[in-house]
């Protein structure tokens, strides 16, 4: 097995990522106080999705991996969303 060169993520990047995550957390908490109706949940999930993507890409190193892993992760997320979608074929139309 050939030894692959490991990518070292600089401390500075990790601190910047944390700040972005904290700002996004602040945004979700703040948005709760505003009145967007059903959009509120959508916004909350969107922000959570962005936060999750950032954690996956930087902290979990997907950004630095070969193509296989990011593709598998995307596949699992799509699988989950499809299961959710198919389940609601039942619950939305009862």
């Amino acid at each position: 097995m050939s030894e692959e060169k490991t990518h070292i993520v600089p401390y500075k990047t990790q601190v910047i990522v944390l700040f972005v995550l904290l700002i996004l957390t602040g945004i979700t908490v703040a948005v709760t106080r505003l009145e967007f109706g059903a959009l509120n949940t959508l916004i909350a999930m969107l922000v959570a999705g962005i936060k999750a993507t950032i954690v996956l890409a930087w902290y979990m190193h997907l950004k630095y991996e070969k193509r296989l892993l990011p593709m598998l992760v995307a596949g699992v997320v799509i699988l989950f969303l499809l299961v959710l979608f198919v389940t609601f074929f039942d619950y939305s139309y009862r």
């Binding site: 699988l79 299961v83 009862r94």
Partner: protein, 534 residues
Amino acid sequence: MESPTKPISYLDYKGEYKGILGWIFSTDHKRVGLLYLYTMLAFFSVGAILGLLMKIQLIAPGYTIMGPQTYNSLFTLHGIIMIFIIVVPGLPAVFGNFFLPIMIGAKDVAFPRINLLSWWLYAVGILIVLTSQFMGDGPPDTGWTFYAPYSFQTATNVLPAVFGAFVMGFSSILTGINFVVTIHRMRAPGMTWFKMPLFPWTLYGTAWIQILATPVIGITLLLIIAERTLGIGFFDPALGGDPILYQHLFWIYSHPAVYIMILPAMGVISEIIPVFSKKTIFGYKAIVLSTMAIAFVGYFVWGHHMFTSGMSGRALFAFSFLTFLVAIPSAIKVFNWVSTMHKGSLDLQTPFYWAVSFLFVFMIGGLTGLVLGSLATNVHLHDTHFVVAHFHFIVFGGTGFAFMGAVHYWFPKMFGRMYDANWANLGWGIFFIGFLALYLPMFYLGIMGMPRRYYDYLPEFHGGNIFSSLGAIVLIAGLMIIFINLVRSARHGTKISEKNPWGGTTLEWQVDTPPTLENFEEIPTITGKPYDYN
């Protein structure tokens, strides 16, 4: 380690531990595979006897040898044993462990210690399930599906049975992870994806289902445990819960689990047929792609188990449509196998008999599945003996026949001894006749309206049931001939050291018989395609 002149067989290897400890603490993938085999044979015997007892009860209406409560706990235990202990781990755990590394040119699986841990979790899970039979409140009577809300209302020992199944789920997940990593990282140089034999390919598809579907049953069983111990109310209509949601979660796993059972069986058949037809497999790529298609689409058809539960009309249409879709790749495979045999020089040996009879019963099982997959007929047949016959044709007829085929195909390689072919063929014949006599009448009984899971029935069903119960006795007789022949041959059969008794082309037929401890003294380089008979 000192260098012995001749590499030692995995059966003769003496490690740190002696005797049985040398097996239950061995991380050698071949020994782990055999551990699974022996455990499964033991519990398969128990499950088969439970089945026989039920059939004897049903030989006449009313009380024959047991009452309703005993009957309920028997079909529950029969289901739990056959599903969770036998067919779900089944082929991957036994033959996957033994032959996957050899067939892709590796010395072991990626994580040998986790592999041994899988067996231990499996064994512990079995022990936990068994405690449910002997504790105070009586054996569980819910059926292997543990349907809500009954599963948290019955006073019987549901908890240990559910928890045991949960632990076995972990075992299954670890096997899946091991196989995916092994296939990704440890194929021999030159073995590209499309030069990989078909049994490893089906194991790959299966392993993904094990990884992606098993956690669903894990959390569902955990929810049942929480429901029983904490009264949490997710599936209890009295607390606002929806019992149908339990069915959704349960079948999101348990339908893909059917493909955990059947995909590796298809892999085994794809190995046996070219070898005994002496012909290159027809449509290698089509078989590979249909395997992956089944694994994917099979994830979205779970609702066909719930057509009469009260789902929305749209969900009914969607699930029925998807169910018909998943039949296509399965049919593609059948065409490929038949085309492979076409104009081949057939070598009529025991493994081939099993493979051909597999095709026959698998087709009946598959086509009756479509009868159940279409909405109108399903309403009539739901929860009748038609369903029982259908899934026994798939699970016992499909996976079971393939398992028997696999045992007879790889037996000489695994034990370095040959079984008595005459007894093996006779066992197959009796078993096959018994199988058809046992399950074919159930289709008829189901269409006539005989419900499943009752210890009693109306007098008009008597004739069919006599036929079916006699079939069960014949089947058990065939099974005993097969088992006795195999067990005796494993100990006293004629020794062989020939590497390739059947004329196979995959890697396991190029290593020693029985394989050496490390399978390959030198990792081979692969240049050609598998199943090359030109």
